[in-house]
Symmetry: D2
Subunit: 394 residues, 4 copies
């Protein structure tokens, strides 16, 4: 039974929402160290080493700033540091989080072009290219893409977006949200020419929520010199100035930084490519189970399958929320709900972060037993299908 | 990856040996509180309340003493407090732990009658009764039975042993080892007329190893007044004297006592009968998987099936140790090895303590995938069989 | 030795900066619980109870919003939710943090009147009143005051500021920063007619940094309806809408909320008035030590003495930073540095949060031994003076 | 407020009994790692490394066995592994713990010669030598000495005891209790020719109670081959056999072993000689405070002053227990009580383990303020005297 569970339940809760993810003990233990003087000499050493080390996870050699704030704030930072009121940006409606980012841009006084999708695939690269080609005056200042859309389980091809921008010869900045992909799905800030990468602590980085990140290209830095959106808390300039010696312009989230230090070590020890392969393998096993049950995954485009979560469409006439409630009640597992128009239509299985084969089997077992308990028609044997795939690829 | 794992492995380790079991967070957090003055006033309050509360788990109204020592010590305490050098006891060789207790008795100068079994069932009640009937002079001072034999997964019927002793009209003490049953399998110290119940912290009590217990009947207390085996650390007398005010005669394992306080609360909140039913259900699901795979459980007598662990016999020519090594290597799960003559012949699945359905599915999934990876012939679908049972009984 | 100390040092580090403060074990243990589904039913119960409970600490019956961000962000929230670009506010330069808030306002496009002080007292109430009286057109939209100026150890009299505003008959909002006073120094959001109270987690609330707060009056809420500063992350409206059912519009800092739950309980169990009296007593003991050593406290106005920290002025020709470095090196204690113009001139002793008499004696002992080790002329016996006061008032 | 405090008290409790000591965070965090399979391959690696590493603390190259039991058990192990019923040993009554060890020997059937002292000094070496010289038949099989008598704060000179035994040409074994000295006071198992060193986890080793130790000489090992005292749990033979590959014959206290691993690292990083010097310095500072107050330390022989604790004699007519109760109530500090005949006559200050200068100042401050609060006549200024010494020697 966990501390805040309202009834006694034996065994560890399965937190299989697509983030926050299960925090590994090594990270929790690091976070448990006493808060230290954030202006003292030892902090500077920690800060410098950590700000350097975290770059590897973004695959960048440029600066990464760390906010003592959750991921939504890092979206705001990416926009306010690079844009001015009335600037135009091209966004791509891949799902609920793209929708929220779009809403935020509007609230901040940014004009948005919004490329639609059916929420069953990643960003529409062809349309992005076309819109950029059409924008002869280069009114569009930035292209904003969600790398891994947490609401649908569709991963946009950022490499293709980059190529499309290059093909169109368009100078817009490329801003990418990797909140549910960083540390889980292959991502390359420098190689793909991303200008601002937005990330959060509570998914592939295996931390509780409370830290967020901007990885920043030189081009983005230059843009920030003239960007006019008002900003203070999110302003890169004092942050980068203080970071140069390992410090922060205001109180950092010290204990989460300890956890980040441990988490980055863990990712490096396993090896980023191994980490990505592990997530790919778990995602494929999950999809095999889903298909065996007779359901569709929300992502309709195999090249866009997400490796960190799978959104599952329930047959018409069945409530995904009722199913999730049954599974929580009977099997002590939390699954992600459908967001926006997908509410009650899909449920989402998170298989990211500090996660192993047997946890996946338990997770899929909980879904399959829940389907039966909730009387959702399905073909039994999905777990078996997943196991066959996993044991053939162990 | 856990702290002491020799290579990086993502996800939580599955510790499915039949104890030590997975320590729940609530217990770990309690143990993390600062060590306190074991002679101060607050300790006395804690001690009194805890010594009272822990009795519920043994279903006794008599005293329970708590040693800052692992379970093996509590065996020694049971013997040295009640017996004199040269005393005769009747023991029952239900498996490896009964064998070890028997060895200990010999080393302490006790003469033993050892009722044999084939290690595939619990204590042989008929033979016990016969031996007692044959002992006209009442030379036998105690009957020693392991309630749940951790090496075989066979649970002796203590209620029947009691009835046999009564039927034989024999005054011997009844000493019972419940190290791997207490808090997992129905057990009733008072109702079954047990004189000394031996227990440890690291199984159904969900603590790390380091505490052990003797629940003591009035008859056992009386026997201790004349028992001549030398004893000091294990001596009940100073322990009970100090316990009367909530203290201990020497330094107690303070932080484990904090954990015990939390663990007993958890058992009481769930309700002991619910706890037992949960273990019964998990054991039955496990056996269904085992049979589906085409294997035998080590316990050949259904009335003696253990609800806290299942020992599985591998077909001739297959190494249980090689299988366990494969499962540890590929699937990050520890299973129990075969002990003594069962070495390499059986492996043991622990399904006790703080344990839920999805952890069981993950556990059985790890076994089934391991069987495939280790090329042990089996019929796939054992996990499915377990799920069918569980979801029909959720 | 703490985890990130660069050399082995025995014993617990004394973190006596004026925040972050020493996190008590009870709070750390609460934070260690597994991250939970922030959209699940148990979270809603926790959220509702916590959002209700935290109001007591602000002494308000109105809403308190909680940001997953550090305190600086809550300043920004207070401004962006209530003001429009070009609005005029009256601020009071009580020290470094007032200066930073003033800078922030400028960056956000707010016009500021800045009432100066000599950084040795709280806000100048007479001048505030005069400026408001002079503002016949009510161009001033808000008065911004730092309750407890962490850089100087001067506490502004918010009750008097309120009375001055009322006397001037001025409708400006009253925004108050309580980052280093809330939970340490008497503060009354409702009674003093404060419109927005800004607070952070890492001082009197005894948590690590990472949460910040706005307590909001009805008048401020109404102002937010027409306030035009762009805002999204900090926007009260979606926050309050989600809070109504115990949830948050974006991922909250779950584990810090667990800690907040424990911390508010601790404050309530001790009783807020007892908490304030404890801080008052420690502050007076500290000042007696300082005076005995022959130094001045930075705060020149006894009515403005801070109860959460004491800034100490070193005699001309002596470096406060060298002294702090000596104390860190030889006595394993972190003290606060002088900020801005006070750099190297003062050091700051934090005596707030989870803090007891003996920790204060250790703290003052470290200062006195450090003065000797660093050859700063002083009269020995400051600790003795503090002890005489404390033991007469224990 | 700690978890089990019966009333809310702010600030960290000062646990200044002479053990258990304050467990450092690094040790607590290590202990928090998940319990692992004590028969798995990673455990063997941990076990081997740890059994090797711990020898440094004893300054021995021979074997050290680790019991999952508190220190009292290690006394019993030392006796039962080396002696036979009716054997004669020479013990030295240095205080309460020597008395308890003597009682234990009697209960185990060992005949004891008990060299008396006035409880104000260490073992009487001259008498030991004389008794051994008088023992022409070498009936005495062992000399048992408490290195640091926790009840009196007197440290016996084990080097002199060794020389006395050699001078007498007596072949008895030398058994030494270092429960409150190991890791705090200079101790050399090999160099001083000790045969069995008895130790526990909860003092200088900075762990919670629950582990105890025997360091064993070749001579002691040889004696164990013929020693006839019944033993099983404490038996070295199966322990050493299992230890050879890093394992234990029965379930070890896994999580405490993690903590031991961290604690030994901490001692080695600081350097044992630095650790001892730190304890010497704190003890001298404490005695200066005590003398300034006008009290006597219980130890009347400067060469025997203990560096891990100081027992303080109160003037006639004053109750040490009342003083301790006042200090606990008013200043949240636990001090050690007087044991046996010293009950209510002395109180004991523990200054060992993970302990720094400022904690000592806080501790002595608590005593001095307590003396005043309890109206015990004393000369104020003891803390000042300690600070003068410490800052001259920082």
């Amino acid at each position: 039974m966990a501390y805040f569970q309202s009834k006694p339940v034996a065994g560890r809760h399965f937190l299989q929402i697509p983030g926050p993810t299960n925090v590994p003990d090594r990270v929790l233990r690091a976070m448990d160290n006493p808060t230290m003087d954030h202006r003292g000499p030892d902090f500077g050493k920690l800060g410098k080493a950590l700000l350097e080390k975290v770059r590897h996870v973004f695959r960048t050699e440029g600066p990464v700033v760390i906010y003592p704030a959750s991921g939504t704030g890092a979206w705001e930072a990416a926009l306010t540091n690079t844009l001015s009121p009335g600037d135009r940006v091209l966004m791509c409606e891949t799902g609920w989080f793209a929708h929220l980012w779009h809403e935020m841009a509007g609230r901040l006084g940014i004009v948005t072009d919004f490329v639609k999708t059916d929420w069953r695939r990643g960003a529409d690269v062809a349309q992005i290219e076309q819109r950029l080609r059409d924008d002869r005056t280069h009114a569009i200042k930035a292209v904003c893409v969600v790398h891994n859309e947490t609401s649908t389980g569709c991963t946009s091809r950022i490499d293709e977006v980059r190529r499309a921008m290059d093909a169109a010869g368009h100078p817009a900045l490329l801003l990418v949200d990797t909140i549910s992909s960083l540390g889980s799905i292959d991502y390359r800030h420098d190689e793909w020419g991303v200008d601002v990468t937005v990330a959060g602590s509570q998914k592939g980085l295996m931390l509780p929520p409370g830290l967020s990140f901007n990885a920043i290209s030189q081009k983005a830095l230059k843009a920030s010199e003239t960007a006019k959106l008002p900003r203070s808390f999110w302003d890169w300039k004092p942050m980068l100035a203080a970071n140069a010696t390992g410090y922060f312009p205001y109180t950092p989230a010290t204990n989460l930084l300890y956890g980040l230090d441990a988490a980055v070590d863990m990712l490096m020890e396993e090896g980023l490519d191994n980490v990505f392969a592990r997530h790919d393998r778990h995602a494929e096993a999950t999809r095999r189970a889903v298909r065996h049950w007779g359901f569709e995954v929300q992502c309709a485009e195999p090249r866009h399958y997400s490796s960190s979560l799978t959104a599952v469409r329930l047959p018409e006439g069945h409530s995904a929320n009722a199913l999730r409630a049954t599974i929580l009640e009977k099997f002590n597992m939390s699954l992600g709900n459908g967001l926006g128009p997908l509410n009650d239509r899909v449920f989402r299985i998170g298989h990211l972060g500090d996660f192993g084969d047997l946890q996946l089997i338990g997770t899929l077992g909980g879904v399959e037993m829940g389907l039966r308990a909730a009387d959702v028609p399905h073909k039994a044997g999905g777990v078996q299908a997943a196991m066959e795939y996993l044991s053939g690829n162990a």
